[in-house]
Symmetry: C2
């Protein structure tokens, strides 16, 4: 009987953040692909697009004109998934099988730049700092609203991730409840903190830095790594070295280091397949329910769908939906590939 080799043998790995397993099949990455190819737009975008509802000065769906903004610009989503209205709700409609409750919330759109064509990896660090400051302001403003207990900052990048406008932008959905994934994470973080008096991610980060094999980028204040339990082929997580529980607690120096690692990571992503790399990303941090939450530790998830090339993605389908997430390439291999990629954007190499 052969000895277990994590780099070669099929195995499961455990994700202590959400208490779920992932199936890893290292030997399967050589499988041929005859299925669907994604159509990625390769055309060069203009700096300004008169038909874009996010460009400065243009008119949005609701008839309002965007201001002539110079940095980032935030507005209320015209087709929000939640509404602010307070709704009268009688508990007795609850039922073992038909349990529902009204949900209040606010959705905002954050334009990252007035430039229609400028994505994170191509922006200056100072401009990225501005985005982080905008996130800080929104987290504070929305979090201060009495009924808002959670502020989800995220970005869908690329049409393959359901993004309907290439003008660089993210979203914020703020709401009264803790969303499912956040609640799961909080439960894990809390039980770890209660037991150890340190945050789970503080200790995890120490362990990862010791091993080294899953680290992609490290600076004075942040680390970008491929989690041991990553499900997407090139999934990463940016973790702050200091156990800071929310974005508003970062020092000026930390904001600068965060902007730098965001730029470096997204450059590596673009360089991987020489394409504007699609992903969904988002920040997990303390809820805004007025409690202390020392168990929370700021981190940002990147979930990119691409697997083999700019046009072949990983499908999380049948087995993954019914059974559990499955990956082919190991997290260690992905980290190595990302680590070895240049930190100069491929477009700048060519210029």
């Amino acid at each position: 009987m052969k000895n277990f080799d994590i780099n070669e043998d099929p195995h499961r790995r455990f994700n202590p953040l959400i208490n779920e397993w992932v199936l890893v099949s290292p030997h399967r990455s050589k499988r041929p692909w005859q299925g669907q190819n994604e159509v990625l737009s390769t055309e060069d975008l203009p700096k300004y697009d008169a038909t874009c509802y996010l460009c400065p000065g243009n008119v949005r769906a609701n008839g309002v004109n965007n201001p002539d903004y110079k940095n980032s610009f935030v507005f209320e989503n015209d087709f929000a998934a939640m509404k602010q209205d307070e709704i009268m709700f009688e508990e007795d409609i609850k039922h073992t099988f038909f349990k529902a409750e009204p949900e209040r919330g606010i959705s905002r759109v954050v334009c990252f730049s007035p430039r229609h064509d400028l994505t994170l990896p191509e922006m200056d660090v100072a401009d990225i700092e501005n985005i982080i400051k905008t996130w800080q302001k929104e987290y504070t403003d929305l979090g201060n609203i009495k009924y808002i207990n959670h502020v989800q900052i995220f970005e869908n990048k690329g049409s393959v991730m359901g993004c309907s406008n290439p003008h660089p932008h993210g979203q914020i959905w703020a709401q009264s409840s803790l969303p499912t994934q956040v609640e799961k994470t909080q439960n894990s973080l809390k039980s770890y903190y209660d037991k150890n008096q340190t945050t789970l991610l503080e200790d995890y980060l120490k362990a990862e830095l010791k091993v080294g094999s899953r680290i992609v980028i490290e600076n004075n204040h942040f680390v970008a790594l491929v989690p041991f339990w990553a499900i997407w082929p090139y999934e990463t997580m940016i973790i702050s070295k200091r156990a800071v529980n929310k974005i508003t607690n970062f020092t000026t120096e930390e904001v600068n280091a965060y902007a730098k690692i965001l730029k470096q990571l997204t450059i590596k992503y673009d360089n991987l397949f020489s394409t504007s790399f699609p992903y969904s990303s988002g920040i997990h941090q303390s809820p805004t329910d007025g409690l202390e939450h020392p168990e929370w530790h700021f981190h940002m998830h990147f979930y990119p769908p691409l697997l083999r090339s700019a046009t072949v993605k990983k499908f999380m389908v049948g087995y993954e939906m019914l059974g559990e997430s499955q990956r082919d390439i190991t997290p260690e291999k992905s980290a190595e590939i990302l680590r070895n990629l240049s930190e100069t954007h491929y477009k700048d190499e060519v210029r």
Copy 2:
């Protein structure tokens, strides 16, 4: 303050099968769509394709010839996600953050028909019965292997669901562990059964039949419905009326009724957008660990991605990955639409 109206107001619904919530935004279904359109193949497929590795008589990637099969045909997946080898594993590599364990398993492909062009909705009931019998045989054979504790039967249909060959086929992944989603479901089913001495789905089905608004199809032995907590726009579940815990326990009459409801449901799906409707489907039933499992109740999930048309799907991306699943159209509305669709396939209407 207005009263809560589940048909109009944003709300969350609870899924007691996996203990998770879904965000429902009924008002949002009128949102315009400027994003990605799926490219669905509309070409008519030939009955036999000489380049297809699933057609009878053709050669597969590993050089083996398919037999000249007449009904369904099962073979071992040439690029399996798991291997059968027993692996030596020392518990001490376990770690708070780096918890991994080897996983053994078998992957099989089930060709539904020798015909390259014949999907479930277009097959005769007798042919679908044959597929069900094949599933029964595989469940028994694989389940009898000592180290196999779970047999996942599923289908990825359509290129948008990662299916790389249009020849109608499903898969079976059998393995030593309970996959994450199955384990979650089992926990819910077990605690319900221990408390009530009836299966959760028996009581849920009774409650749904009383309400009626989410029922799509009902026959003597099965019901197809849109679950109260469905996340995909046209998600459905087929539930057996009798609390049967595995596919091998169905009577001949039940197998016939199951084949009929499978045909009717997939015809309605095709009719919805006049297209060969993509989905991932799969059966949840008792593990094969040798225990009794009276808490299990046979059901089959259908997770179809399409939202507005044959080319516009729902994206489960940023908010959904970081927060929780979100839907626009209500399950009641989806059920009504599916219920009212014809049970004659659109291709037969035209003929």
